[in-house]
Amino acid sequence: MSVVRLNSPARPVARPAARPAVGLRTVTAARGKAKSAKVAKIIVIGFAAIQILKLILDITVSQSAYELKSLKLEKIALTTQSEIIGQQVDSLSSQQNLANSAASLGMIANANPVFLRLEDQKVFGKPKEALNSDGRVARNNIADAALVQRSVLTNSDASKTETTINPDVAQSTKVNQPVAFSSGSIPASPTH
């Protein structure tokens, strides 16, 4: 058996195209992925920060609630004090207390008021000493259950009052400061 050596192809075979030379080059990292990671990191940190802030805020608000409660208690205490002082002022300034205090200090409303008309210095009414028995109402007649406090008149108050009406003092006033008379018979005030 004969062997035919096939030295040449039966048909021409195209030579493969010359491949371009493959060289090494630098590859940059995938930009999109890095950016996503950064954003994720920011989100995580931001979320954590928000949670921490929220926690702080919650703690603060909770503290404020207790502070508010404390302030409300303080307000109640101050309101109570205000009420107490208000009651005392009401009592001390009531007509009943003032009338009693004036009476105990020896003050007597003159039942015979005398009027002086400045334009002609004419006196209306007959000047009379205010007498204890001169038709005055001796004591307070008007009930007041809200009167929780009365004026406390100390001895020094009483002595001051006595000093004011001390006849010796009145006498010395008379001696040292003679009353000035103007054209009429009415004593004129030295201050005008």
């Binding site: 608000v61 508010l68 009414g125 007041d144």
Partner: protein
């Protein structure tokens, strides 16, 4: 011997998966039930267990006098409560050492503050209950002292409460609030719409420790506070008048007494005093009658103070003048009656009096003989124009209108006795306003008790005032004042009303009072004096009445009260003394 058979792992896995699915379905079902089907109800239950509704009480407005003095205001009072089950001894540090204070010692401390006996307090805190009240309505001072005792089983409820700092001063005029806050009488009732506020409400959630959960307010309705009412009353003058009146009322042994001060040119009521009266802080301590403002509510036959109206009618109609002459006997038989005889209060002969003299002597016979010149219809018209038989514009709670029969129902006697104040009734305020008409030169004003009510910003909104009504001419009013002056200058009783330095005009009144059991006049009288000053230009009217005076049966019991009050009024308002003399009018003739 039995060996365990090897299982089927696939089947076990299948059963396990089925169980998980079933459980999941159950959970999902329950979730749907809780979150969707019952969500509303569960939310509601949850909220109710932690939410608290708190009423924000509105503060009632104040009642103030004309100078701004507070006559009524709202303060906080406190109910002292205890949970008896929690009562126990409490530890206290004494000199740095903690000691246990026994309950009886704590009780003694509580009792001391509350003004109770320890036994009373012990009785209140006995038992095992959750709530007991020890005392209601303690004031801020007691509350503060109790708080300082630091007893943790005491609880306090703050209750808005009304207080009247001036006590019984104008008490029946101001009125009071019941224990449940309802207004009873007086300004409290009349101006309730101004004084009362609207309570607010706040609902919020609280934590286990009772602290409000932040931002948990569910609803909040703000409280709207009440507004202040301003009266025309001058509290200082009112006090003075009440002092004088109370003392004289006691000495007269009268059922009651009133004093009214009116500003002639405005109709403002400066004083509406009465005795006895009530302290609105303790209304229960007064009698039921004393709680009423008699100045507005009590009517009675006015008696001779009405002679002023008869005289003014005569002058205004031209049927008489200040010097119209009459012979006034002690007794006179009324014409057209079956011998009905009217006498004067004091015996005398046939006095030759002028109309002015008739007023001076308060002669019943004289006024009837002169007054008959005016027909009944005209006199009735004048009486009503002077304000009789009609409530005032104040519309005070329980205010009486008085009573005047129409003239066509007047019988023969009434036609005459009405000339001196019998047969009809007036309130103390109505009689004062008759004199205001004359003092204001013939123009009747409506009395004014309230200046106004504040608006929401605290600005005073004045009440609308009604225009005056001319009743008699200015000349008639002037003439009538001149005649009234002679009563005070020359009258046997009237002269006790004179105020040194001032020209004063006025009229006495000693009215008989019908005994309801017999229907006839009894022995007791309503004594009055109504006057004005200064007579040359009247500024103030003072009207005093003592009902059923037992020690003095004529106006001598009323004139000292009038004088004291008028003196104080003139002094308070710095009224210049009179500089002119009274008119020269004859009171008698020969």
């Amino acid at each position: 011997m039995r060996y365990m058979q090897p299982g089927n792992p696939a089947r076990r896995l299948q059963l396990f998966a089925i169980a998980i699915v079933v459980i999941a379905i159950l959970f999902i079902g329950r979730l749907i039930q809780v979150q969707i089907i019952q969500a509303a109800d569960i939310n509601k239950m949850s909220l109710s267990s932690r939410s608290v509704t708190h009423t924000i009480p509105a503060i009632r407005g104040q009642i103030l006098d004309s100078t701004g003095r507070v006559l009524a205001r709202t303060v906080l009072k406190y109910d002292v409560n205890v949970a008896p089950v929690n009562v126990k001894p409490l530890p206290r540090k004494v000199n740095g050492i903690t000691v246990e204070i026994p309950v009886n010692q704590l009780v003694a401390q509580i009792a001391g503050v509350l003004g109770m006996t320890p036994e009373e307090v012990s009785l209140k805190i006995a038992g095992t209950g959750q709530y007991a009240n020890i005392k209601r309505g303690v004031d801020a001072n007691a509350f503060d002292q109790l708080k300082k005792l630091n007893i943790d089983w005491l609880y306090f409820d703050a209750i808005p409460s009304r207080t009247y700092p001036s006590g019984a001063l104008a008490g029946s005029l101001v009125g009071f609030l019941t224990s449940d806050g309802k207004p009873m009488g007086g300004i409290e009732s009349l101006y309730n719409s101004c004084l009362a506020g609207t309570d607010g409400k706040e609902t919020y959630e609280k934590g286990e420790d009772g602290i409000k959960i932040p931002d948990s307010v569910i609803t909040t309705t703000k409280a709207v506070n009440g507004r202040d009412v301003h009266l025309t009353i001058n509290a200082d003058l009112q006090y003075f008048a009440q002092q004088v009146l109370t003392q004289k009322w006691a000495s007269l042994k009268a059922d009651w007494a009133t004093a009214v001060v009116i500003e002639a040119k405005t109709g403002k009521i400066l004083v509406a005093a009465e005795a006895p009266t009530m302290d609105p802080n303790k209304p229960g301590a007064s009698t039921e009658a004393a709680r009423h403002a008699r100045v507005f509510e009590s009517s009675f036959e006015p008696g001779s103070v009405i002679k002023m109206v008869t005289a003014a009618t005569l002058v205004d109609t031209g049927k008489g003048n200040p010097e119209s002459r009459v012979v006034a006997p002690f007794g006179w038989t009324v014409p057209g009656t079956n011998g009905y005889r009217v006498t004067d209060s004091h015996t005398h002969g046939n006095d030759k009096l002028t109309l002015t003299g008739v007023l001076r002597d308060s002669s019943n016979t004289g006024i009837m003989k002169l007054g008959q010149a005016v027909d009944a219809s005209t006199r009735f018209s004048y009486l009503t124009k002077f304000g009789m038989g009609k409530k005032t514009a104040i519309k005070f709670p329980g205010e009486a209108s008085g009573f005047v029969l129409p003239f066509n129902q007047w019988d023969g006697v009434k036609k005459y006795v009405s000339m001196f104040g019998q047969g009809f009734s007036v309130t103390p305020l109505q009689s004062a306003m008759m004199y205001q008409t004359i003092g204001n030169m013939g123009v009747r004003l409506q009395p004014q008790l309230v200046t106004g009510c504040d608006d929401a910003n605290g600005n005073l909104q004045p009440v609308a005032t009604q225009p005056g009504v001319r009743v008699v001419s200015e000349a008639t009013a002037r003439t009538t004042i001149d005649m009234l002056e002679k009563v005070v200058e020359q009258g046997g009783i009237g002269r006790h009303a004179a105020v040194p330095g001032y020209r004063v005009g006025g009229k006495t009144g000693t009215a008989q009072i019908t005994d309801p059991t017999t229907g006839r006049y009894g022995n007791l009288h309503a004594i009055s004096f109504i006057g004005m000053a200064p007579a040359e230009n009247p500024q103030y009217i003072v009207a005093v009445t003592a009902y059923k005076s037992r020690t003095i049966s004529n106006s001598l019991g009323a004139t000292p009260i009038f004088k004291s009050i008028m003196q104080q009024v003139l002094r308070t308002f710095r009224v210049a003394p009179s500089t002119t003399k009274s008119a020269n009018i004859a009171t008698e003739w020969k």
